[in-house]
């Protein structure tokens, strides 16, 4: 006589079906989890320097002293360019503006700051920087300094620059490294964006860094 509390054993095909379904469920959950938990792949090249980014103090386009370390807590985008730059700088700043606009849409523009340090200290006055950056975003800060001061900072950030004399009435050009550096809210150099990086990719990386 069968005990009333004992369940009748499932038939063999039913048991095989249960096992098969269980395996399928585990694989399915694993697959979904792999997609959900896959490590974030940055668009920029990642740095893991144990040393904080080189601090500096330079004058901004409003004539105020600006110190990098005062911006801890924000994601700082650092770029080396110049006001008379004909193509590379405007193209890069347009992408940075797009990234800034994406953060603005999310109400997070205060969490990001863009700096452009001049590689043409000879010609870039505060007025010229203000005029140039005014074409992009009022929050963008232009930084000017003495020749040697700028050279020292640029070297440390992996930036080369060199005057190129041209026969143009515009005067000389300045060849320079066109990457954009991201200094994270803790003050560490974290990402390098190559020239041509898209605004939405820059914004995505900034948001990830701000949230993690």
């Amino acid at each position: 006589m069968t005990n009333a509390t004992e369940k009748p054993k499932a038939s063999l095909p039913k048991r095989i079906l249960i096992v098969a379904l269980s395996i399928a469920a585990v694989i399915g959950v694993l697959f979904i989890a792999l997609i959900a938990f896959k490590p974030y792949a940055f668009h920029g090249a990642v740095l893991q320097s144990p040393k904080p980014a080189q601090d500096f103090t330079l004058m901004n386009q409003y004539g105020q002293e600006t110190k990098l370390s005062d911006y801890k807590g924000k994601a700082v985008l650092l770029y080396f360019g110049y006001a008379a730059c004909p193509d590379v700088c405007p193209a890069t700043l347009a992408e940075v503006r797009q990234a800034n606009d994406i953060l603005k849409e999310q109400g997070r523009e205060d969490e990001m700051q863009f700096f452009m340090i001049t590689v043409d200290p000879e010609r870039d006055t505060a007025e010229r920087m203000a005029e140039f950056l005014g074409h992009f975003d009022p929050s963008f800060i232009g930084l000017i300094g003495e020749e040697e001061e700028v050279a020292q900072i640029a070297t440390k950030y992996g930036i080369f620059y060199q005057k190129q004399d041209t026969s143009s009435v515009m005067g000389y050009l300045v060849d320079h490294t066109a990457t954009v550096m991201l200094v994270d809210p803790d003050g560490y150099s974290r990402l390098i964006f190559p020239y041509g990086a898209q605004g939405e990719d820059i914004a995505e990386d900034i948001i990830y860094i701000l949230d993690h």
């Binding site: 469920a25 959950v29 070297t155 992996g158 150099s189």
Partner: protein, 235 residues
């Protein structure tokens, strides 16, 4: 009559099994380190200097290449680290054993730009470069003394100082520690070798780590390499 225990299938077990699987996978990855990477130490410095042929050489010229740097000066009377001979050995080793399809470069930076003009560097480089049929480029560079100091002292963190020379033939000598630095195509320092007796096999091993990483920098494999950086799976 004893009651038989009946195993009841619960979906919660699946969740537990899955969580255990994830934890085991992550811990196994971190412990067994199936993928190794070289650390991304810091940014290599930017510069615009001149080589032994009086041609312009900037840090941008080495973008996209795996570049090994060393530091010396041509007036060295034998009482300074002889890393340039080692560079030649490494150059030969790279030609013989480094993976193909990657551009390699060597750069020797003078610590004495006041005296080491491009011409002088050309004479110094001649025995090393020889007929120079190597596929691995080798530049000996010099520049404005202050900029060289920014690059070497600030960018590569190599301390060096000038001292009066006991040897009457030269006014001064430069004291420095030996250093080789491996920089990747992004301009990021990936390995530093503060030794005079660098084994070329060590450099070739590190180059192999980098080339494998470069070759796996796209697609799904990229995640494994990013995870290796995250868990600091260094050799």
């Amino acid at each position: 009559m004893s009651e038989k225990k009946v195993f009841k299938f619960r979906w919660l077990y699946l969740l537990y099994a899955f969580m255990a699987l994830v934890v085991i996978s992550v811990v196994s990855f971190a412990v067994f380190q199936p993928v190794k990477v070289l650390p991304r130490i810091s940014l290599a410095p930017g510069y615009a200097f001149t080589n032994q042929d009086s041609e312009s050489r900037t840090s941008e010229d080495y973008r996209g290449k795996l570049t090994l740097y060393n530091f010396t000066y041509t007036n060295c009377d034998g009482d300074c680290p002889d890393t340039t001979q080692k560079m030649q050995e490494i150059r030969e080793a790279i030609e013989k054993s480094a993976p193909a399809g990657i551009d390699y470069a060597l750069v020797t930076v003078t610590l004495d730009p006041e005296r080491d003009t491009p011409e002088k560097l050309g004479l110094f480089a001649a025995p090393y470069l020889g007929a120079d049929t190597s596929t691995v480029s080798w530049d000996f560079i010099t520049g404005d003394p202050l900029r060289v100091r920014y690059m070497v002292g600030g960018g590569f963190s190599l301390f060096y100082e000038t001292e009066a020379s006991p040897n009457q033939e030269s006014d001064y000598e430069i004291k420095f520690y030996p250093l080789f630095v491996l920089v990747d195509g992004w301009g990021i320092i990936r390995a530093e070798y503060p030794t005079e007796n660098l084994d070329y096999e060590e450099v070739i091993n590190d180059i192999n780590f980098l080339t494998v990483e470069i070759n796996n920098s796209e697609g799904a494999a990229k995640y494994a390499y990013e995870a290796a950086h995250l868990f600091r799976c260094y050799p």
